[in-house]
Amino acid sequence: MSIKNKDSHLFKTLELWDFVELGIIIVLSILIVAALQHGLRWLSGRLHGQKKLTLLAIVPFVRLFVIIVSIMIIVPLVIEPSFQNMAALLGTVGLALGFALKDYASSLIAGIVAVGERNYRNGDWIRVGDIYGEVYHVGMRTVEVITPDDDRVLIPHSMLWNISVINSNNGEPRLLCVADFYLEPDHDSRKVVEILEDLALTSAYLYFNSPIKVVLKEKPWGTHYRLKAYPVSVTQQFGFVSDLTMRGKSSLSEQGFKFAFVSPIISET
């Protein structure tokens, strides 16, 4: 009889102190998560390169850990921890998520997958569809990206299920940058390659332990040169490309090379 009574109650009878205890746990969890997020972010701001990115990548793991621990403490306080009760609770939650909060749940699960698989981490530069930017925060439901134009974009993790995510640096402190040059077809390509290589070698942003490559492709309207090199830091990618383009243009002009003109009709085709 007593067993039946015990099992028939899903929730425990909560008294005032239980509510206070629950409140304290929730507030403490929020504070710990906030403090850790801010603390680690602040600390990473004082570091550079790989150390910085590693520290930033830890943030979502720490948050997930604190949330799981909090849930593990809260559940036995609210629910009688029997098999039947847990089955009933999980069934109800599952049903609610499946119907009412389907998309939300999908994003939450995708968020856990993203953290576990490390598809993107804080500090990574990713492209999702037309959006390109730095991962600022991997939340539970969304990933927060700051674009080069300083726009804050929230992308639901659920996009992971059906859209490709391009990660440009994948946890590394640097990424490949490409500067494009379009020249009229009649010229000495070797000379151009030489100039472009020197251009990269003399850039103040260049990271030396990675290769420099010049790739060229013949087009109906001229030759397309792609100068590929790595800057010292991911944050320098735009400065690096601008520097290469600016100096490349003046250097190629000085040497008498003519830039290709592509009419809008051709360029669209």
């Binding site: 600390l43 402190p173 640097r174 070698l201 850039s203 400065g239 100096r247 250097s251």
Partner: protein
């Protein structure tokens, strides 16, 4: 009988000088192959303490002095120049040229070694070019001056006309001034290296500052065979030079005390004492660069007002007795951090370019940096204000005392740094 025999045997052994191994005294000035250069290191315990202090620095908002001078700190004065010769190691580049003679003698005497060029690489502010110039004079060689910066920027690959007729030795003391980090800035050095390495411009000695060498080596993959550098001046070498200076003041005894705890700095006046850990840290921080160590040592010394009155004559000539004991206070803190705004990469790039070229005129700096002139100018004045850069007659340099802190900062941020 047996006892006597035993005794005589041990005596013989003790006195057996012919078999005794004689350990040669370590050369103070010594050139070694580039790969044999050894950076002085601190013991692991000290390194851990340093690591802890760097960790603490992350949380430190501003740099506050932590020293406790037993008296009032205001009573202390920096070292007057007349006492420098007694309290600072004396740097004689003539010793450097002798060491260079030793290392180059084989190459000079054998014309068939197959290497027409020898490279002498030196740390920034290590006196490398001064030694080479002195050596060139001693050996009646032609000194090749670097071309104008404007000529380099024009993209000309015409070498300076000062190269001698074939057969005469030439010395180029500053290879780092033969190029600029500009798309036109590599042409002349490319031509020079091509001619030099193939022996088309005769036999020569090329000096290069280590940052410039690292850069050129990555671009041109230079020969690794005939490359030499001055071996690091470790704590023992530094103490030897310092002791020589201190002992010149025959009638005055200098007592070096640590400002933070009042303890004696050991190892200077007596060979019996262990070398104070400060000197190990100093040598390690300055990566064995003698001039830097001397400079930093000088900065650390403080005298009380009454000791400032000690005249040179008192130190050299007295009536044969020690007339006074002069206390020299020393601050043992070596600050390794450079406090730059963490987001300001432009400042880091300015410092890097300055180290790479061993200083540059302001107007040339504007031409090779990837920012606009006003940004360059404001960055430069900010660095001048911080005391990291100095401007001498329009030419900007990273200051000596900040050189290794800047190197450390560049290394942490993955910029190209030297190997020395």
């Amino acid at each position: 009988m047996s006892k006597k025999n035993k005794s005589s045997f041990s005596e013989d052994k003790f006195n057996s000088s012919p078999e005794k191994e004689i350990i040669p005294e370590k050369e103070i000035w010594e050139y070694v192959s580039f790969d044999s250069f050894k950076v002085p290191t601190v013991p692991a315990s000290s390194a851990a303490a340093d690591l802890w202090s760097s960790f603490k620095l992350i949380f430190k908002r501003e740099d506050k002095g932590e020293e406790i001078y037993p008296g009032s700190e205001e009573e202390l004065y920096s070292l007057p120049s007349r006492l420098e010769e007694f309290l600072l190691p004396i740097i004689d580049f003539e010793d450097g040229t002798k060491a260079l003679d030793n290392v180059l003698s084989n190459w000079l005497e054998n014309p068939d070694t197959g290497n027409s060029v020898v490279y002498i690489v030196g740390q920034p502010y290590s006196g490398n070019s001064e030694i080479l110039k002195k050596w060139a004079k001693n050996n009646d060689s032609t000194i090749i001056e670097p071309p104008d910066y404007d000529k380099i920027l024009s993209g000309s690959d015409k070498l300076p006309e000062s190269f001698p007729e074939s057969g005469k030795l030439w010395v180029l003391p500053n290879l780092e001034k033969f190029f600029l980090r500009h798309v036109n800035g590599l042409k002349i050095i490319r031509k020079f290296l091509e001619l030099a390495e193939t022996g088309k411009i005769g036999k020569g000695v090329v000096g290069c500052q280590s940052f410039g060498w690292s850069y050129l080596n990555l671009i041109f993959r230079l020969s690794k065979k005939n490359v030499f550098t001055l071996q690091a001046f470790d704590n023992e070498k530094f103490i030897k030079l310092l002791s020589k200076s201190v002992q010149r003041a025959r009638y005055t005894k200098f007592k070096f005390l640590n400002m933070s705890n009042g303890k004696k700095i050991t190892g200077i006046s007596s060979n019996e004492e262990p070398i104070d850990p400060f000197f190990t840290k100093l040598a390690s921080f300055c990566r064995g660069n003698l001039l830097m160590q001397v400079n930093l040592w000088k900065e650390k010394l403080r005298l009380e007002n009454e000791n400032l009155k000690v005249e040179k004559i008192d130190l050299e000539k007295s009536k044969g007795k020690i007339i006074n004991e002069t206390i020299v206070w020393m601050s043992s803190e070596i600050s390794e951090s450079v406090n730059l705004p963490s987001t300001d990469e432009d400042l880091v790039i300015i410092l890097h370019v300055l180290l790479l070229h061993d200083g540059l005129p302001e107007d040339i700096l504007y031409k090779i940096l990837p920012f606009s002139k006003p940004v360059c100018r404001s960055g430069l004045s900010y660095l001048l204000g911080l005391g990291l850069v100095k401007n001498l007659e329009g030419k900007c340099f990273v200051v000596e005392s900040a050189c290794y802190s800047v190197r450390k900062m560049l290394f942490e941020r993955d910029y190209l740094v030297d190997k020395l």
